[in-house]
């Protein structure tokens, strides 16, 4: 593993292949040889439409693949440790102290039958072996940190007594409990209204700025990614099709899929009469198993015969900017 080690990188994923199946000889690969890394203190956006493998990728970091999901090969190195090789107890410690995670739906990601306080205290005591009292104090300060007013009252409440934005803040507070060095946010604002979305995003950015926490932000919305991230990786069909610093990718997208994604971001400008927001043509993702070549070819406006033979390796197209399309979107 040591050949992959890089002190600046907090998380490195090498050649990760994830498949679904129930039998060894009947596994359907979903994520194909993926490489990804997050530097310390930076926000990496992982963007792509649903079914592209974003969620599987970030769950594999926690080794929380759903039933039937398997890592077929590859490495996940976190802070120099091999996550996939961790023992059970190492894994539990890793999850509780090193990484925090928040989910898409704040309505269902908190246990509905237990008070906020009890859930927070449980998490804090698991991660930090605090006394009950200390855990409570820490819980109060965490809630304050995520801008929750009257935190002691909130501790006594049940999730169903809070609004969606509040719940997502609570989730965030729990995730930050042990000051993790990585925060995984899987579509954290999708279920929220725009105002709350903005508040949560600014909270996330503050967390990075104040604590230096690295964030892996998953979204299908390029607008959110563009606003939040330092780096971005675009996923399609289980491949990363383009990656690089956000300004590079956003301003000079090289992969036709990235271009299409960016084009579909709504803008505040009032569209001209007769304007139709571009949509990505072709069949949606995931209807056919991957065989070879570029998975986007069938929907790509620039597709050509050679697309069948594309190897899907990322080729440098600019400073730290790589793309899997050898034709550069022309």
């Amino acid at each position: 593993m040591n050949e992959h080690m890089n002190e600046n990188q907090l998380l490195q994923i090498y050649n990760l292949r994830i498949g679904f199946g129930t039998k060894l000889n009947d596994v359907n690969p979903i994520v194909h040889g993926l490489n990804l890394s997050i530097s310390r203190g930076r926000i990496l956006g992982l963007v792509g439409e649903s079914g592209s493998g974003k969620s599987l990728t970030c769950r594999s970091v926690m080794r929380l693949l759903p039933d039937g999901g398997h890592v077929l090969s590859g490495d996940v190195i976190f802070d120099g440790h091999d996550v996939l090789g961790m023992s059970k107890s190492e894994l539990l410690a890793f999850r509780s102290t090193q990484v925090g995670m928040i989910f898409q739906d704040p309505f269902s990601s908190l246990n509905p039958t237990r008070r906020i306080g009890s859930q927070m205290i449980e998490a804090l005591r698991t991660a930090l072996s605090l006394s009950k009292k200390d855990a409570q104090l820490r819980a109060l300060s965490l809630l304050e940190q995520v801008d929750i007013s009257n935190p002691s009252a909130k501790l006594r409440m049940y999730p169903n007594e809070l609004s969606g934005g509040m719940r997502q803040r609570v989730m965030l507070a729990i995730a930050l409990g042990a000051r993790p060095s990585l925060l995984i946010a899987d579509e954290p604002t999708t279920a929220l209204d725009t105002t709350t979305q903005a508040q949560i995003l600014s909270l996330l950015r503050r967390v990075r700025d104040d604590d230096g926490t690295s964030i892996l932000l998953v979204s299908h919305d390029f607008g959110v990614i563009a606003e939040m991230c330092d780096d971005v990786a675009v996923m399609y069909g289980g491949f990363i099709v383009e990656s690089g610093p956000i300004e590079e990718v956003y301003l000079r997208p090289r992969h036709p899929y990235t271009q299409a994604l960016i084009a579909s971001v709504p803008t505040l400008a009032i569209p001209e009469r007769g304007y139709r927001r571009p949509t990505i043509p072709g069949p949606p993702l995931g209807t056919l198993p991957y065989t070879s070549g570029c998975p986007f070819a069938s929907r790509c406006t620039f597709s050509r015969a050679e697309c069948e033979d594309v190897s899907m390796t990322l080729l440098p197209v600019g400073p730290s900017h790589t793309s899997a399309c050898p034709f550069g979107g022309e």
């Binding site: 039937g68 398997h70 077929l72 090969s73």
Partner: protein
């Protein structure tokens, strides 16, 4: 290299399970329908001189205490049991769903009042009702079945009511209302078809439960309607001979269990399949 661990998952394909279940049930039904035609024995004709005979080439599963061929009787009994189980279940589900839906859809005091009626109906011990129908209409599958319907509908009514209440505010119901459909049309064309689904999950198993309950009533002496007998009656009738002529109850019990397992497999397959589609 990561070592890849697989849990042993032999049965993951739910449709396979449904298919196996359907095969079991289908085989039992086929045997029940065809068997009696092929059998040289009359299921109801007693032959006292040939009573309690061990299984032999002539009587594959022996004879009962009146000298009737156990195999043939069991096959005919399977027809009756299945028919009874299915009819009882259809009746309870239909009545229960319609009442429950109407109650919930009507709302207001109708709902408040009728819901209590449903609750009260659930509180009546089923055995009182069954014993009463038996005493009024005479011993037999029909009376016991009727008693079971009179009690059983209430559970489905409660189920349907809860389901309708959650559906009532749904957008598609609102949409049908805004289209100006009549309440009856909304209820029968749009609400009930959606409500009946969760009931059906219960109902498949209820077919088996009904057959077992019929057997229990036969044991207490209320289910047998000679000369024909359902599976339960044959098992109950053979129970006194379990220690001396094991073969009378064994085959019908095995058939009942096979049906139970088969229906259970179909049911599991169904519910998983449905969930998958959502």
């Amino acid at each position: 290299m990561v070592d890849v661990k697989f849990r042993s998952r032999v049965v993951a394909n739910w449709s396979t399970q449904t298919r196996v279940g359907a095969c079991i049930v289908g085989a039992v039904i086929a045997a029940a329908l065809i068997g009696p035609i092929l059998s040289p024995w009359d299921p109801n004709a007693p032959d006292v001189l040939a009573s309690l005979e061990h299984p032999s080439f002539a009587h594959w599963m022996g004879t009962d205490s009146a000298g009737r061929d156990v195999l043939t009787r069991t096959l005919v009994g399977t027809q009756i049991s299945l028919l009874a189980g299915v009819l009882i279940t259809i009746a309870t589900v239909t009545i229960g769903t319609i009442v429950g839906s109407l109650v919930a859809y009507a709302g207001g005091w109708v709902d408040a009042f009728l819901s209590r009626v449903v609750d009260t109906a659930i509180a009546i011990p089923f055995i009182v009702v069954v014993l009463a129908t038996v005493a009024i209409l005479g011993v037999g599958t029909v009376s016991v079945g009727l008693g079971m319907v009179l009690v059983g509908w209430a559970v489905y009514a409660r189920l349907a009511r809860a389901e309708v209440l959650s559906l009532r505010e749904h957008e598609f119901i609102m949409a049908t209302k805004s289209l100006g459909y009549s309440p009856a049309r909304i209820l029968f064309r749009h609400v009930i078809p959606n409500v009946i689904r969760p009931s059906l999950t219960f109902a498949t198993m209820d077919v088996v439960a009904a057959m077992v309950l019929l057997a229990a009533m036969s044991y207490l002496g209320f289910g047998t309607q000679p000369p024909v007998a359902d599976l339960g009656s044959i098992i109950a009738g053979g129970q006194p001979f379990l220690l001396t002529a094991w073969w009378i109850s064994t085959l019908p019990a095995v058939v009942l269990i096979a049906l139970g397992v088969g229906v259970g497999m179909i049911d599991d397959g169904f519910s998983t399949g449905r969930k998958g589609k959502r």
